[in-house]
Amino acid sequence: MQSIRTRYFLFTLCALLVACEKTLPSLPADQDLLDGPVEGLNGEQNKRFLAGDVAFNDQVFTGTTGLGPLFVATSCGSCHAGDGKGHPSTALTRFGQSDDTGNQFLHLGGPQLQHRALPGFAPEQIPVGAGFAKMLPPANTGLGFLELVPDAELLTLADPDDADGDGVSGRVHWHLIPAYIQPRPGAVEQNGRYITRFGKKAATYDLLQQTAVAYNQDIGIVSNFEPFDTYSGVELDPEISNQTIQDVVFYLRTLKAPVPRNPDDAEISAGQTIFSQIGCAKCHVPTLHTGPSPIGPLASRTFHPYTDLLLHDMGSQLDDGYTEGTAATFEWRTPALWGLGLSKNSQGGQYFLLHDGRAPSIESAILLHGGEGDQSRSAYQQLDDHQRNQLIRFLESL
């Protein structure tokens, strides 16, 4: 009798535990999330990832912890919800440079507009006569893979003089890099300039530069890497440790690459074929490779970002009259398309595409392509509705 009661009790307990588990939210599928680490990190690397995650997503700066006094946002996570693309309310504005002679408005706060300020301080205004462009924060996922693409591979993809005559002439961005940046192994130098690859104008060399500049220009945090206050222009004591910045860099490096959804679906496969047929893949190159890395899961990998990391002429419709480095105002770096279908999950439920979010749909983004993208746009317009739908479904599956 005692045994039966015990069994009944244990059965009831197990049933309750199972029932309790059913009442808890389930983990979303990996393919439906942009955040999360790349597979294969070891325990030590997971700890660093988590430290960077906290600094990136949870550390909110205040006036007493270094914010501003001029700023764009109060934390990294404010602009990169779920590590995805930003929203027009988090767009930043850059101004003051219209050609390769450099930024003529550095003395008036350029290149980045800090349009927010602590009480008592006046935020910056765009100076009269300065060209400017608004830029949405990009998705963070897979950046570690992009950082490790060897310069040699980018040079192979480049065709600055359109030698093959296909109308597409991407070029690498040769640009100066700050003294604290260590060129990657195998880096190619040309007259003291290196191939930069991050940012809308591909004007940033690596994730350390991206992170240190973002802390400084976006949040008003000075560091050992970027020690000058954006308000006073004076060199100040660091407001963030090197360790925290390196943790954030590690976090960005080891965020996983977006996972495609339903890649074997026949309609999506057909869309992928169309993508190549109409020439999209000439710039949005499907496959790249990483070089060596001390982080095992990133080293010597083949991955599929749908970008060539090169600058392309995108035509007059996307020429905002502002640029960086030696890029022209009409040139933009090919954005990676991976994760495109999940953009809405970080943009409040709707698309805000292209550099400033002006395109409310994938189709409108395609139709705004000009310059080197003109042929593909025209080819897209020749597609019938079904083919267009297949192409859009493919892009949304990335």
Binding site: V60, H87, S89
Partner: protein
């Protein structure tokens, strides 16, 4: 975090704060409890069974124990619970908590002059706060003077927050994450009540120290009134030399229940220092409606509160910091069994449910016209068991959805809580 009263004390000395109370309290456990409060809770319709009591009386509406002819009456309550939560499929596992141990002592200094203090040890002693320490002088039932550390009467929960009075383990999010319960300040003011027939009308009005710029300069990354609680300097001086005004009007009818209308507002920013202008004066206004009633026939008790907040946020801030907020909760407690259970004569078993909503940023994006989210919804069904009036065991299931400012897919959190709360 150190408080005004313990700042600079070593940990071991702070423990000495506890000892005198414990030594006094344990010997008097067997003393007789005297208050009408007990009868009220036993009836499980606390508001209606003592028709002239209002929510504002909560601070004295507690079981005090008096030992012999000592001039001081003592009391307190403790809360402990365990929880298992999961957010979007990720759980930190079980946790066990002692969220608060509260001691209060009251003294009648002379006829119509009384003093009451409430000291709270939160999270196992990590925080020690004096939540209430006021001297009340009654000139007339309709005119009482109160001064000291007092709880601003905004909404109902802030003044009536004792764990054993509630059938839910967690405090309402709207009361603690929108309004800053428990929100105490140094100040003084007036209160009083009038009685006529079945009706009771009460009022309170206080001037206190108040908020500071942390409400728009905090690590929550939103306009967040509770951030001001971290500033214990407010027990020493006002952050800007301007008083916070809190006023409340309450009306109770014997059969219908009680409704309260309250306001709390003032200048929150430091607009000048040493005579030099730093900024213009920026105000916040908080309005709240609260009610409690017992449905005739079925005996279900409804308790609710809703608050609206407007804040003058600097134009130089982004829309991350909202200038309008609102939120509230509704609790339903339905007694199912009220009989002898497990040897307790007047035990009560109830089913309960709480609905909660908070919007920390009401408005639309300037850039897109889309809705600003930054909101929270929750439902908390559960059961409670009161073996005696002073003690409640609670089992709650919580399901909540919280959206970020952009309105992206919400983070879903759910979990189970089991806990006990008891006066002693």
């Amino acid at each position: 975090m150190k408080t005004l009263y313990t700042y600079g004390w070593p940990e071991s000395r702070r423990l000495f704060l506890l000892l005198p109370f414990l030594l006094l309290i344990f010997p008097v456990f067997s003393q007789t409890d005297s208050s009408a409060w007990l009868q009220r809770l036993e009836a499980l319709s606390p508001a209606d069974s003592v028709p002239k009591q209002l929510n504002m009386d909560a601070v004295y509406d507690r079981p005090f124990l008096q030992m012999g002819k000592m001039p001081v009456a003592l009391g307190g309550y403790v809360e402990g619970n365990t929880a298992y939560f999961s957010t979007d499929g990720i759980s930190e596992g079980f946790s066990f908590q002692l969220p608060r141990l509260t001691l209060f002592f009251a003294s009648t200094v002379a006829r119509r002059i009384k003093f009451l203090s409430e000291i709270e040890f939160e999270e196992g002693g990590r925080e020690i706060n004096i939540e209430f320490a006021s001297l009340d002088i009654q000139l007339h039932p309709a005119l009482n003077l109160r001064g000291g550390v007092l709880m601003n009467p905004i909404g109902a929960f802030n003044q009536n927050h004792d764990g054993p009075k509630w059938d839910f383990i967690s405090r309402p999010v709207s009361a603690t994450q929108l309004l800053p319960a428990t929100w105490s300040n140094v100040g003084f003011g007036l209160y009083g009540k009038w009685y006529t027939g079945d009706w009771t009308l009460g009022y309170e009005i206080y001037l206190t120290n108040g908020f500071d710029e942390s409400i728009i300069n905090n690590e929550q990354n939103r306009t967040f009134l509770p951030a001001a609680k971290a500033n214990n300097d407010r027990f020493e001086e006002s952050s800007n030399g301007q008083p916070l005004v809190t006023a409340k009007l309450s009306l109770r009818q014997f059969r219908l229940g009680e409704i309260g209308f309250s306001y709390m507002g003032g200048i929150y920013n430091k607009f000048q220092e040493d005579g030099l202008a730093l900024d213009r004066k920026r105000r916040l206004h908080t309005y709240a409606v609260d009610f409690n009633t017992t449905l005739p026939g079925i005996g279900a008790k409804l308790t609710g509160e809703w608050a609206w907040i407007t804040i003058d946020v600097p134009e130089t801030y982004g829309q991350q910091f909202g200038s309008r907020q609102q939120g509230g909760f509704l609790d339903v407690v339905q007694p199912v069994f009220r009989k002898k259970m497990f040897g307790w004569e007047k035990a009560v078993f109830s089913v309960v449910c709480r609905l909660e909503y908070v919007d920390w940023n009401t408005g639309r994006f300037r850039e897109t016209g889309g809705e600003i989210a930054d909101d929270f919804k929750a439902i908390v069904p559960g059961v409670s068991f009161r073996p005696t009036a002073q003690t409640v065991l609670r089992l709650n299931y919580l399901y909540q959805r919280q959206r970020d400012i952009l309105g992206n897919p919400p983070a879903s959190t759910a979990g189970w809580q089991f806990g006990v709360s008891s006066y002693f």
